[in-house]
């Protein structure tokens, strides 16, 4: 069960981090692959959104609310490469399971 860094089935291996201010996650119906959107409103980080890198392309919205579960946190480094923890396990569609670390998709196999 070692995570493996590699190219996703969709050919996507890296994630950049644009910021979104205000708005709601459902508004970005089609997040461009390879980008992680943050929904920030009033200084509060609410959601992180991305297209599923597992090939199904479904829009994933991760709750950044620290007070409920499931919850995730997003950090980005000097180059804007996001790290999301914990891992993301898609329960639907393609059922893929991966980490995003320093902008790289690491698959859990």
């Amino acid at each position: 069960m070692l995570p493996i860094t590699g190219v996703a089935p969709s050919g996507m291996a890296s994630i950049r981090l644009p910021h979104v201010h205000g708005g709601s996650p459902s508004r970005q119906d089609h997040d461009p692959p390879g980008q992680l959107w943050l929904v920030v409103d009033g200084g509060v980080k609410k959601w992180a959104c991305l297209s599923c890198p597992g090939g199904c392309g479904v829009q994933i919205s991760l709750s950044l609310n620290p007070d409920r579960r499931p919850r995730w946190s997003v950090e980005s480094d000097f180059w804007g490469r996001p790290t999301v923890s914990p891992s993301i396990h898609q329960q639907k569609q393609c059922r893929c399971h991966f980490w995003i670390r320093k902008g790289l998709i690491e698959w859990c196999l």
Partner: protein, 309 residues
């Protein structure tokens, strides 16, 4: 609309429709049948009807709505859907699974958006389930949230949660597909701090999809029960701590001293982690997301044990 009930003599004084639904049994013949009525601000109160098959008008009159014709009454079904009661049609409380009714004036419309679509609803309250239906998303794979603007987290609305559309700030909803992780089971930090600072021994446990907290050997009110202490289980619903835990469970099973019987609404088993727990059917409708947590639940449990009859 009194229907014939077998022999008037064996009727109990009061039957709680909600308790019967939760315990999965039919209504017993009774002199009074207790339902819960909500007003437009979602304030709940008990209403005792002398008829298990009332008309909408009977309920409205018992609730003292000034003129029945200006008001509507809906049953809130267990699924979170609403069922319209006609004024002069009977509604059989025995087996509909509805114990809660909402009453409101009929001539208003409430506007809000879901996923940026403008919608209108003719009632001041709406449930999570109806919101999802209006948004056109599958109820079992999507969550609906109240969007909070200007510095707060969006609030999860469960299928059966009721939302007051008349309140300021209740305007925007979003639906999101549900995803989960394989994260470690952990309590919210504030809960963990509370347990640590109060020296309460607790264990977070998982049983399939369900997560629970077992409070170890909770001291019971002196001399009240046949044991001095018991393990108490609280099951954390999905969405906790935005969402209230319901009921609690004890092991061993507690009997009242000297009566030697189980307390009211505490005689049903619930299996969790392979243990057969005594289910204490105690409910709470005033949970404050962001404020309430395990500390609230522990206070409620202490109170319920103290008050057990």
């Amino acid at each position: 609309m009194q229907t014939d009930i077998s022999g008037g003599d064996d009727r109990i004084p009061l039957e709680d429709v909600g308790a019967a639904i939760r315990e999965g049994r039919g209504l017993r013949p009774a002199l009074l049948y207790r339902i819960v009525v909500l007003d437009e601000e979602l304030n709940e109160r008990h209403l005792d009807l002398n008829d298990p098959v009332p008309t909408g008008r009977q309920i409205l009159q018992t609730a003292a709505a000034r003129s029945a014709d200006d008001y509507s009454i809906y049953a809130i079904l267990p699924s979170g859907e609403f069922e319209d009661l006609r004024l002069d049609e009977t509604y059989d409380l025995r087996g509909r699974g509805a114990e809660r009714f909402v009453i409101f004036q009929t001539d208003r419309a409430f506007k809000f958006t879901i996923d940026d679509r403008q919608l209108e609803w003719g009632k001041p309250i709406i449930s999570g389930r109806v919101l999802k239906a209006l948004a056109g998303v599958p109820t079992d794979t999507y969550d609906v949230y109240l969007e909070v603007r200007g510095g707060g987290q969006d609030v999860l609305i469960r299928d059966t949660d009721l939302i007051d559309l008349g309140k300021a700030g209740i305007e925007r909803f979003i639906t999101l597909i549900r995803d989960t992780t394989e994260g470690l089971v952990a309590l919210p930090e504030s809960d963990q701090r509370y347990l640590d600072s109060h020296g309460i021994a607790a264990e977070v446990v998982g049983d399939g999809p369900h997560v629970g907290v077992v409070l170890k050997q909770v001291s019971l009110p002196t001399g009240k029960f046949d044991y001095p202490s018991a393990d108490v289980l609280v099951i954390l619903p999905p969405g906790y701590p935005d969402v209230a835990p319901d009921m609690f469970f004890c092991d061993p099973w507690l009997r009242l001293v000297p009566a030697g019987r189980y307390p009211n609404c505490a005689d049903q088993p619930h299996v969790f982690l392979g243990r057969r727990w005594q289910r204490w059917s105690r409910h709470n409708s005033s949970w404050r997301p962001g404020i309430d947590g395990l500390h609230t639940m522990i206070k409620r449990i202490e109170h319920a044990l103290e008050e057990a009859k």
